[in-house]
């Protein structure tokens, strides 16, 4: 399963604790440039914890996280964000009282709004719905629109690596499909590397170059998206009755 591309992000032996409780028990993972990597797993497996650990909140107690050859394990979150990693956090976390436009500005603040106008146009073509709602408060958007905004906001920083935490959470199937189409498009057209944490295993694995399965704070399986989709164990645990 090695590819010819260089690993953009490497996670080696990462252990994360919440107080005394261990959430990640030594995770190894790679994300290569240009890939879409999906992490699936049940509730409480530690998927979001891994994503947040990459972002330095909470920090890993053991192990190393390397991004473009640089050790970012102990780096403060805001500095990690400045390296070209963007995140659309779980539960969307848009700024509800600020307008959509201002939310997007916040996304571009890492690079001082250098390409703001261009990028605004771009995300507006990707998400025409947002264009209609630019002057609206983000808190007044529907769940799907807020998710679009969260992704758009992350894209505004022109990230090399985009971390998406459960973008399909609580959304109607048709919106889920739209969101996944966008992820594919962003990956293909802008060569943005995507690391996707999902419970919606069927859609996520279909989209993914490679995938990992996490159980109880450990990676138990890995492989190409197609291979995992076909795997009987994955099928039984995550896909039964799933594929809409």
């Amino acid at each position: 399963m090695t590819m010819n591309t260089a690993p953009l992000l490497t996670v080696r032996g990462v252990k994360t604790y919440y107080g005394n409780i261990i959430a990640l028990k030594g995770v190894d993972m790679d994300v290569n440039a240009g890939e879409i990597v999906t992490l699936i797993g049940a509730n409480g497996a530690g998927k979001s914890t891994l994503m947040m650990t990459i972002f330095g909140k909470p920090q890993a107690k053991e192990g190393t996280i390397t991004y473009e050859g640089q050790d970012i394990t102990k780096m403060p979150t805001h500095e990690i964000a400045r390296l070209g990693i963007a995140q659309s956090p779980e539960g969307r976390r848009v700024f509800p009282r600020m307008t959509v436009y201002e939310n997007l500005q916040m996304g571009a603040s890492v690079n001082n709004l250098a390409w703001f106008d261009q990028d605004l146009e771009k995300v507006c073509t990707i998400f025409p719905r947002l264009k209609e709602r630019l002057q609206q408060r983000a808190g007044t958007l529907s769940g799907g629109e807020q998710q679009m905004l969260a992704i758009a906001r992350a894209l505004m920083s022109r990230p090399k690596l985009l971390l998406l935490d459960e973008p399909s959470l609580g959304l109607a199937p048709i919106i889920v499909r739209q969101i996944f189409d966008v992820i594919r498009k962003v990956n293909e057209e802008d060569k943005t590397t995507v690391f996707l944490v999902e419970q919606n295993a069927y859609h996520a694995l279909k989209l993914a170059t490679r995938g990992y399965v996490m159980v109880n704070g450990l990676i138990t399986m890995s492989g190409t998206g197609k291979a995992l989709l076909a795997d009987p164990l994955v099928k039984a645990a995550y896909l039964e009755g799933g594929g809409h």
């Binding site: 403060p76 964000a81 009282r97 916040m106 007044t140």
Partner: protein
């Protein structure tokens, strides 16, 4: 939607409710308000009956109960009409209101001087004008911390105190005075102390803002409020107990008053009146002080408006909304919070220095928690983040209390010992309760977007859930 049928109002029931409420009120207030214990010249305690007061309160309760009942009945079965675009006038108010307010403020002393004459004008400029402007400035300063950055600060008065004491201590310091007398000339410090100490007071207050900011950075909401509250009290208690430093309860007196850029306001030949060929009158100093605090307040407003359009201002607002999201967008939340604290504190310090200069005397009594509460009330009442709202709230709260002193005619009605100013906290509380019922997001709750595409549209708070809008 049309109202389907006219609500039926049962007047008999309303009347019954009213009578019942009045009876309860009578039971409650008969002893509390109906009688007052008093001392005669022989030190005997006598009961003074106050039937007028008692009956008017009972009457008020009766009428109020009926009014509430009527209001409730008239709403029953009614479908709430769709929200009108009330927000538009608010945008207009923000746009035209502020220049109008500023114009009025600039003209205010002249207007008062013309209508009330030099003797009457001092009271109106000092008690109303300057007093309200100090609170407007404090409100605008606190607005940066609470309204923009969303950090609930219950100890803002601490920075006010730091500013006031910085100025008072520096200006009355003998070593500095002697040193400058040798270096530049006698009387220099007396004349220029205010203008030199004003920035120093601001910087010191900002420094203390950072000092407070560092340990409390991890805290939010209630916990932050408690710590800032404690900080405010600590500063006050230090000022009381460290007598060598601050002269304790006795306070600091004979603080030099501000000069007209070196020209003192006194009756001598070197004084302001003599230099400008005017007849000596204390009114000139008052008018000058008015313009100084007006300038300081406008500076605060200008800075906070400008900052809101800069990345740091937007980062403050984003921080208020969601700290985690902020961090993951590459914003250094530590620095962002510290700048908010420091800048807010700096304006508190300016206001404090001005306060000390205006009073000529300060003591820890002026920096009690109630002051913090009042400033915070002004910000909340005005609508978090709204500059014009702060102005309106200051006028209502501070000016309203001052106006209470003017209501002498009430004595005819309630008896000679009645002092309306004593009821200020009661009225204050009632106002707050009413406000929170009718306009839970403050007087001016809509927020003007800092950036816009083709046209400015108001961002109404109506659709955002409570606590978010």
């Amino acid at each position: 939607m049309e109202r389907t049928e006219k609500p039926v109002i049962n007047w008999g029931q309303l009347f019954k409710d009213g009578v019942f409420a009045a009876i309860v009120a009578f039971g409650l207030f008969a002893l509390m308000l109906g009688f007052k214990t008093d001392q005669t010249l022989n030190n005997e305690m006598v009961l003074v009956p106050r039937p007028m007061l008692l009956w008017s309160v009972v009457g008020l309760v009766f009428l109020a109960r009926i009014a509430i009942g009527y209001w409730q009945a008239s709403r029953e079965g009614r479908i709430a009409p769709p929200k009108k675009a009330t927000a538009l006038w608010m945008l207009k108010a923000e746009k035209y209101g502020l220049p109008m307010v500023i114009g009025f403020l600039v003209a205010y002393p002249m207007f008062v001087l013309l209508t009330a004459g030099p003797q009457g004008a001092i009271k109106w400029i000092d008690n109303f004008g300057i007093q309200i402007l100090i609170y407007i400035m404090l409100g605008w300063g606190l607005n940066i911390v609470v309204g923009l950055a969303g950090l609930l600060d219950l100890g803002y008065v601490a920075f006010y105190a730091v500013g006031a004491y910085s100025y008072a201590l520096f200006a009355t310091s003998e070593p500095i005075k002697d040193f400058l007398a040798q270096l530049i000339g006698e009387g220099f410090w007396q004349a220029w102390a205010f203008w030199i100490c004003l920035p120093v007071a601001g910087i010191l207050a900002a420094f203390w803002g950072v000092m407070l900011g560092f340990p409390v950075l991890r805290l939010r909401g209630d916990y932050l409020a408690i710590v800032t509250l404690a900080f405010g009290e600590i500063i006050r208690l230090v000022l009381i107990n460290w007598v060598d430093f601050s002269n304790g309860y006795a306070g600091i007196s004979s603080i030099p008053r501000p000069s007209f850029f070196g020209v003192p306001f006194n009756a001598t030949d070197e004084g302001f009146s003599a230099k400008f060929g005017l007849e000596f009158s204390p009114i000139y100093r008052t008018i000058f002080l008015f313009y100084v605090i007006l300038a300081l307040a406008l500076l605060t407003a200008a800075v906070s408006m400008r900052l809101r359009r800069l990345p740091v201002g937007r980062a403050w607002e984003a921080l208020r909304e969601d700290e985690i999201a902020c961090r993951s967008l590459g914003i250094n939340t530590v620095n962002t919070k510290l700048t908010a604290f420091a800048i807010g504190a700096m304006f508190g310090g300016f206001a404090g220095a001005f306060f000390a200069a205006r009073q000529g005397f300060i003591s820890p009594e002026s920096f009690v928690f109630l002051e913090s509460a009042q400033i915070l009330a002004i910000v909340v009442l005005g609508g978090m983040g709204s500059l014009l709202g702060v102005v309106i709230a200051s006028i209502l709260l501070v000016g309203g209390v001052e106006l209470l002193r003017e209501l002498d005619f009430l004595k005819l009605y309630f008896g000679d010992g009645f002092d309306p100013a004593q009821y200020r906290m009661l009225i204050f509380g009632i106002c707050m309760v009413l406000m929170m019922l009718w306009k839970p997001r403050g007087l001016i709750s809509a927020r003007e977007p800092t950036v816009f595409l083709k046209e400015k549209k108001i961002v109404s708070a109506d659709h955002v859930k409570e606590g978010h809008g």
